[in-house]
């Protein structure tokens, strides 16, 4: 299975670039990666008493931006206020922000070591680049909105919340799969 995926992706990238000499390393066994990820999560619990996350950092960034442009408006909005704190500490000195920056570095390090860092666009064979980017934007918007309503995203609610058997997190996780499978048929042209 890994070999097949590897060959397919090789073909697509070949189309975009004239030269391929460094072969990407195939992805590792998903179960072993899962154990690794689980251990990272466990480390976060044991060291910090909290799990991983991502959407929170993005929300902080938005809240800070809004407060710089329209401070009055931001201070009246309790959603932004939650991320801005009470003014005693810099809201950007946030655990999640530093964690997310780490993810950026980690992804790059791992990708570089496996020769998987390549400028490109991820998409299926039956869709144009333009449509893909439009969908990427829409998808991002929906996920951002939905994640904030549910108080978390896949990393925070599904992964972290799942491991601590949080009821709301399991509800969220199940609904994400439900929504995804329900919508999959309508967007199959984008991917397969």
């Amino acid at each position: 299975m890994n070999g097949l995926t590897h060959k397919l992706s090789h073909i697509f990238e070949h189309g975009d670039h004239a030269h391929i000499h460094v072969k990407e390393k195939p992805f590792s066994n998903p179960y072993f990666v899962g154990i690794g990820l689980g251990l990272v999560l466990l480390a976060a619990f044991v060291i910090m008493g909290r799990g991983l996350g991502a959407s929170g950092a993005l929300s902080t960034a938005i809240a800070v931006s809004v407060s710089k442009i329209a401070p009055e408006h931001a201070s009246k909005n309790s959603f932004y206020q939650e991320y801005l704190g009470d003014g005693n500490t810099n809201p950007l000195k946030d655990w999640l922000i530093f964690q997310v920056i780490g993810v950026l570095f980690g992804g790059f390090i791992s990708g570089s070591l496996s020769h998987r860092v390549k400028k490109g666009i991820e998409k299926g064979p039956r869709i144009s680049t333009k449509m893909r980017l439009i969908y990427a934007f829409i998808g991002g918007g929906l996920l951002g909105w939905g994640a904030k309503l549910a108080r978390g995203c896949m990393s925070g609610q599904a992964l972290t919340g799942g491991a601590v058997l949080n009821l709301g997190s399991w509800i969220f996780m199940m609904m994400v799969f439900a929504g995804g499978y329900a919508a999959a048929y309508f967007f199959r042209r984008q991917w397969i």
Binding site: L39, G120, G139, L143, A183, A184
Partner: protein, 201 residues
């Protein structure tokens, strides 16, 4: 009982930020190695051609869950000090649905999109911009949906508490469910692989 370390004052906030960064790096490496920096792999989940997402995610969940459980039972970790995001049934439900649709359309989730940006994917950058926009819209809409946001609140509640079943039993059931899902996933992948081979013939 000495964990979680931060809550027992073994180090301060500034050190915790460095730790955040290091944990983030490990998180990013694990995600990238899992193939989560590729939208095609993430979306393949929903077409049964590549079930990596399910395998990695559930393996991670049961690894961490078992770790938490046994570390607590031996008294090393104080489970009650682990943060639990409050449960709000309807927001979790609706938010999950919307997020699921967004996942299939966009092809990423927040954490994986960052890994994808780190490996050069332009669609991930666009996705992130979309995410910022979505969060901004939510923020602006917040006053009108604040009531819904806080509705059907149940506080911080776990599955064992909700079903009134012992924690250990739920742990066992989750492990069974995960193994079952893995078996189904392997079977599904094989079927799809055979199908596509048949198509070629």
């Amino acid at each position: 009982m000495s964990a979680p370390f931060f809550k027992f004052d073994y180090f301060g906030t500034d050190v915790s930020l460095i730790i955040a960064f290091l944990i983030g790096i490990a998180f990013g490496i694990a995600l990238e190695k899992g193939g989560f920096g590729r939208a095609t792999i993430l979306a393949a989940q929903f077409y049964f051609t590549n079930m990596r997402v399910l395998k990695v995610m559930f393996t991670a969940i049961i690894t961490a869950m078992l770790g938490l459980f046994f570390l607590s039972v031996i008294g090393f970790l104080d489970l009650s000090l682990i943060y639990l995001t409050p449960t709000n049934v309807m927001p979790n439900l609706i938010g999950g649905l919307v997020a699921g649709v967004g996942f299939v359309i966009g092809g990423y989730c927040p954490g994986t999109s960052i890994v994808a940006v780190a490996t050069g994917k332009i669609d991930a950058v666009v996705y992130l911009i979309g995410m910022f926009f979505g969060i901004f819209v939510f923020g602006e809409m917040f006053p009108s949906i604040e009531e819904f946001f806080n509705s059907t609140a149940m506080g911080s509640v776990t599955l064992p508490q909700f079903f009134n079943i012992p924690y250990g039993v739920i742990v066992f059931l989750v492990v069974l469910m995960a193994i079952g899902a893995f078996t189904a996933a392997e079977w599904g992948e094989k079927k799809m692989a055979n199908k596509s081979l048949e198509k070629k013939v």
